[in-house]
Subunit: 506 residues, 2 copies
Amino acid sequence: MNRNTRTVLNDQEYPTASYLEETMDPDNWDALRQLAHRMVDDMLEYLEDARKVSHWKQIPAEAKSFFKRPIPRQPVAVEEVYQDFREFILPYPFGNTHPRFWGWVAGTGTPIGMLAEMLTAGMNTNNVGFEQIAFHVERQVIEWFKELLGFPASASGLLLSGSSMGNLIGLTVARNTQATTDLRRTGLQGEPAPLIFYASAETHSSVFKAIEFLGIGSAAVRVIPVTEQYRVDVDALRQAIQVDRTAGRTPGGVIGNAGTVNTGAIDPLEQLADLCRDEGLWLHVDGAFGALAALAHEFQHLVQGLERSDSIAFSLHKWMHMPYGLGCVLVRDEELHRNTFALTHDYTSRLGGGVASVHAEASDYGIELSRGFSALKAWMSLRAYGADTYGHMIAKNIHQARYLADLIESDRHLELLAPAELNIVCFRYNPGGMTDNQLNKLNENILIQLQERGIAVPSHTKLGDRLAIRIAITNHRTKQADLEAVIEGVLGIAGAAGTPDAKALE
Amino acid sequence: MNRNTRTVLNDQEYPTASYLEETMDPDNWDALRQLAHRMVDDMLEYLEDARKVSHWKQIPAEAKSFFKRPIPRQPVAVEEVYQDFREFILPYPFGNTHPRFWGWVAGTGTPIGMLAEMLTAGMNTNNVGFEQIAFHVERQVIEWFKELLGFPASASGLLLSGSSMGNLIGLTVARNTQATTDLRRTGLQGEPAPLIFYASAETHSSVFKAIEFLGIGSAAVRVIPVTEQYRVDVDALRQAIQVDRTAGRTPGGVIGNAGTVNTGAIDPLEQLADLCRDEGLWLHVDGAFGALAALAHEFQHLVQGLERSDSIAFSLHKWMHMPYGLGCVLVRDEELHRNTFALTHDYTSRLGGGVASVHAEASDYGIELSRGFSALKAWMSLRAYGADTYGHMIAKNIHQARYLADLIESDRHLELLAPAELNIVCFRYNPGGMTDNQLNKLNENILIQLQERGIAVPSHTKLGDRLAIRIAITNHRTKQADLEAVIEGVLGIAGAAGTPDAKALE
């Protein structure tokens, strides 16, 4: 104790408001512990009973209006808040934990993921980098994904909220690398000629959104037609590049799809890699779910070539079933990745020891500085399940999609609308003698009934002029009987409706 | 049951691999329940003992090398994975849950936030919008923040990972709105004249990063000098705008700071709002932590004017202590916000009923389509603590910073290096007779010793040529004795070193 200091300190008055020695920790830890145990039991029961309880349902007006309340100024007992969660929130989910949820592309979650998220939030470390273990865990996870997807040891990567962010990060590196000027400094207005990107018509909206975000503008994306398999037409792509070169524009990069969102189509990745190598273009692969087919030994060949891309984005909350939101971006050339994002700040600079003895590295690879320790759920999940289990669950879903497609093709009233190569099945009920417009109305109605009667949750898409009932199986809980049930449901709904009145459906 | 269907189904063969009827759910739910209870107990004990156990420490080589392992192919018992977490991860945090962590700007977390995160991950809903309760909860939270920060009812907002993303979103709306062309379509290369933004020299790196990200280029940011209080010099700003106008460039927007990261300085927001109104410029406020001073009744006046901004970004994992990563952006004009991001996709279009009877709204306000239900932790925390508790904890930290500044000013060997108006105190040990360079080395050493001896975790910054020990109090666990302890620590370390040898410090 430094006596001098003590004297000095005593001269100053600490303010006196009643809250000045209070914290946000509970007065009664035991009561909170009790509640916490109840929460754990309830949620594990919820997951154990997922088939019974976690399906989508319409929200009653009472629940909606519960969330139009004035701001709470005073504390409410946490037990009461939890009761409100049980009553007004938990019963009205999107439904993606249910074995028959196949809408859009959604992961199913796991109980281990749930527990990892609790540990993460308890530890609540800010994984900005520096000397702390969290960044080592994230590096480990990135190393594992590099290996799983065949990326070289020299590649870099980052965990982020999902594939939309992954596409954005990958395309930012592409833009900055392919620009002819110092893009970070002078921006796109400094570019002498327009920087052009190429993507198939089946490419996900997040790619087009990223292009807008980056200031490139949607007019600088060449939307390349697809083949009958919904894969990019490589000849048309090659021609488009030449047209731009001839016109004095700067071809920048190609976005390839490893699993399109509409049909699960996989672009010819080897051909795209060859083309990009020959043309000096960046190849970014949007592998949101499809890239992970690489984990399923028997289907790895479907995505061959993705390991040659310059950057790839994929989600871990989809086909890896980790809690939302979690994704990953890998970049083949770490230096280009860092050159795009690294920025020094006085207040995060390195020192000769202590916390800052290690660089605050995370923000060198993306936009976030403060960030959560989402690597923990990835690390725990990968260890507890093992990569092979993921491979099996992914293979299972691909087999299931093919089985479902077989069921559809063997029924004369059902029409498969796209190849079911990966995990997505697009089909419609088509009894014959109806226009596309009539069929669209009929199938929309069938789809709505499937959902509202609690039979299953497929979603929809448009393929050309045809509305498809779309079943995207990224669901580890789905079993054979579930696939049969949805087909029975479709036929049952259509049959009960009798011969549809064409006029009524217009 | 449709008999016809049954017959058809029986004709198809479901594949036979052993994993085809397996899931990722545990075989033994009771064993997992037991482990889950242990985890809850351990983590609540960890938080209850935060003062004893959650401090930063250097990571032993053994722990680092544990995360350089080959990819696990086979499952590992989850109990073992948890044991590894306890041994190799939990002991080596950033340290921001500890009462004496004041480095950078980091929130402390709460046990209620931890439990909310578990509920979120168990429910694991994909909060993309559509007919599900999660988006109503998020809307409720956004409404509450609009009210707390004085934004009009017509404003819009979105939860995202933190203030870096919030700044990026706000500035994207600013860019697209202020452009003279259709920026989404033609990009920045379509702009006839450079679009210019203005920010003080004390502005956070994430703003400059966002400008680069958006393709505007750092050369298009005018870095405006600050006053002695580290606030933007409004006269210099006004002149810079005129220079750009005269030169034919397009002034686009001003970034104001509600709490700079170095010193907590708050730009004169009313003056900035007046200037932006007069000049037709967008005013974005980076309010990462400082904006939330609006919740503390006695300090609300410090950030007056922020309610007049066009957009504002702030974090909820900092001064609101919610689990990482969580932030929010508010935009005054909802239409401009949606115009920047809304994009329709066939596969998420609305239908006449079912899940898609409601628009998938979330992505209209930002980059993510799939996204987690982070609104739950915000909603539960705000209800369980009440806005006034947050106000008290924020006021407490401001009082504490001022008390700490008083302690520093009353010691002849300590030098306050910036006004401590908000929650940040920058100071150095200065016994007199040393150059800045010598003092910088001395104070770096003191800071490292504070951290490595486990006394406290301040961080550092450079103010001009002077290295400051920087204490940023966004910590609900900090008490009076902690502030006195760090001052004693500084004086003790400096005193033990004796009269510093100037040569040795060069």
